[in-house]
Symmetry: C2
Subunit: 453 residues, 2 copies
Amino acid sequence: MGYFTPLAAIHGSYIVHTDLAIHADWIIPVEPTGILEQHSLAIEDGKIAAILPSVDARQQFEAREVVDLPGHVLIPGLINAHTHAAMTLFRGLADDLPLMSWLGEHIWPAEARWVHEEFVGDGSRLAVAEMLRGGTTCFNDMYFFPDVTGRVAAQAGIRAMVGLIVIDFPSTWAADADQYFAKAITTHDLFRNDPLVHTAFAPHAPYTVSEEPLRRIAKLANELDLPIHMHVHETQAEVREGVEKTGHRPIERLRRLDMVNPGLIAVHMTQLEADEIALFADSNAQIVHCPQSNLKLASGHCPVAQLLDADINVALGTDGAASNNDLDLFSEMQSAALLAKGVSGNACALPAEGALRMATLNGARALGIDHLTGSLAVGKAADLVAVDLAQPETQPVYNALSQLVYSAGREQVRHVWVDGHCLLSDRELTTLDLPPLLERAAAWRARVDDQPA
Amino acid sequence: MGYFTPLAAIHGSYIVHTDLAIHADWIIPVEPTGILEQHSLAIEDGKIAAILPSVDARQQFEAREVVDLPGHVLIPGLINAHTHAAMTLFRGLADDLPLMSWLGEHIWPAEARWVHEEFVGDGSRLAVAEMLRGGTTCFNDMYFFPDVTGRVAAQAGIRAMVGLIVIDFPSTWAADADQYFAKAITTHDLFRNDPLVHTAFAPHAPYTVSEEPLRRIAKLANELDLPIHMHVHETQAEVREGVEKTGHRPIERLRRLDMVNPGLIAVHMTQLEADEIALFADSNAQIVHCPQSNLKLASGHCPVAQLLDADINVALGTDGAASNNDLDLFSEMQSAALLAKGVSGNACALPAEGALRMATLNGARALGIDHLTGSLAVGKAADLVAVDLAQPETQPVYNALSQLVYSAGREQVRHVWVDGHCLLSDRELTTLDLPPLLERAAAWRARVDDQPA
């Protein structure tokens, strides 16, 4: 119960000074499970110093800043465990198409034509604005120019893990394998001491990265202690073609390369046989579920209920805005909870509490940063989201967890803190200026529309 | 092209006076298909008088009120083709449970304990507030005390079809079949001349209404020219038990009762064989798809892509807030479009345009009121929704239809008109006072929580 009461408070008679005190109608720490009513959170030096009943907090703490949140629920910041942030600028460019023609005929040509530093900067800033407004405090990214996305995140004050991308074909970011690796190392070095920005290797997918670079990644990731973030078994066609080309299903190929371990963040995973689920369970490898993207591209269903039953850590991602078409973890939690029931035929599968856990603590575990964030516990970073439930769409409140997952919308996020810094205050972004971002987005639309790839 | 230009405007040199002119960046009439850029809508006496390019509208019309909507898309009001409005007061009361235990152990006992006039009035008002804020201008309801819900709708100025409910067991609304029918007729008479509130028979489901009342409904519906709104083939268990009890699948039982005709509004329909799809196609009967409710209760999947291919009219409903848990047709359109792809394995199934059509014109057709509403056409009622796309979540705009269905949220609804009356103005409700509604909801929560059924 150490997360409830700091020592100083137990001794009672004197007042504890702190940076920030937040009093909320409900606090959901995620771990331990359950809902705390009329509780408060004290924050000191960007970290959670105490969680305790508001009646005690008001007596024991004197905070430099006090935030009263009647009608609000306070939750850990949401973690988007798979996205391509800069692709916000391709949002809605090509819809209602299957994965391979969407990629091959639309997205890849548009990327070859348009993706460079300026594009990635503008797209990442738009994405961070959208994510913060929707209660996301950390995102796991995979895209070209990860150095640019990382700098945008650092400037905005949001937590991020940027992917050191590797792919077999040349791009505006790198011409060949050697350049991809050189830039990966440079980018890794760039953020080595950054308190908010982490790095991971990001080989795009088994079907787009060949044997030699994969071997190199496995070795380097091990040496540098970096996770490996990768699309895996996204579609049936990918698995079939993998077998035709290599004689093995892609997961078996990764296993032979010694890549199926706790550092593997395998995204999508819609095609899974029993032995593959057992392998992930035994290896403590990570899975990221992207329900809306999988539906939209008709990629198949990730068997989430089965994976959770096997004690595999499953996190939640939106994928890029070009295949979702938003970066909204509220609607993604709802989709995950609903789809798990529909796919398993069991209305008890993935209850609200499980969906919130996927979008918070499981995300932090997948990224290997659950010592820092992912739940509300004393000593963890104050990565927090206050959600206003006093709206007609979420009234009445029998159960704050149900309202949060099944009824609340991104627009009900009222305040967001990362590391104790308020990045969204009463729905206003404090570190990003919205009007120029929207102007830049409109300018990109005009350019892309004028000169299609 | 009659919907584009009124005669007076063609003759050019003189100015046409009108009540209201709305100038929008995009107008999506739904029928004909497509997106009109920089167009305007002129409204006179609550009806659409003209749709024409803004450059012409600004010259030809002099309106008593002018609404400029840069960055907005104007669409027909959304039609929620199946809901139980008053159940907003049970929102989140019991989640993560299968249909029959959810109904039998939680909802039906709570209804027996709590549902009376005051509850239905408060719940319906909360529902109407939520629906208007989310761009819904018409709803098809099925619940006890339909007279109360109808009066709430009339007072708020929203269009509604209230269901004259019939069910085999006694309720707080009626003690037996005779009383259900007597109250049905009284309620029908109450709204006979109402410009906004229509009525339909609403036998709850084949498994809860026996032969004799169904026969009586079929006869009366025919005489009074009323639709029949009914849950049909919601789950596999319902169909199996129907066969065990009657020797026939429920749809065959309805066919033998002569109820499968254009007046039948069959809701859910997750269990369908080829001959049943053919029967609905041949009979021009109506189907309402409730994707989120079907997922949440693990009821099965309605084969929407197949039904649309068979030229069956398929509308969209949220179901009640206790099984969804909101009345949000934006997220329902997105779910319908995504799920149709996932279930059919075809990423081209139910494109954005089809999802919007289901939530507008198909809804009006299902209710038999497509001569009044459901699309933007000269002569139809000005049931309109202005959606603000100039937000980070929906930028940039390559395709307003994609943004509307795949990215926009209910919170981006800025203005709503029904019959030319503005019911939501810059997100403020004009006919409902929100604070007392929220207080009433909180008071109901306290009562229901204190004395569970």
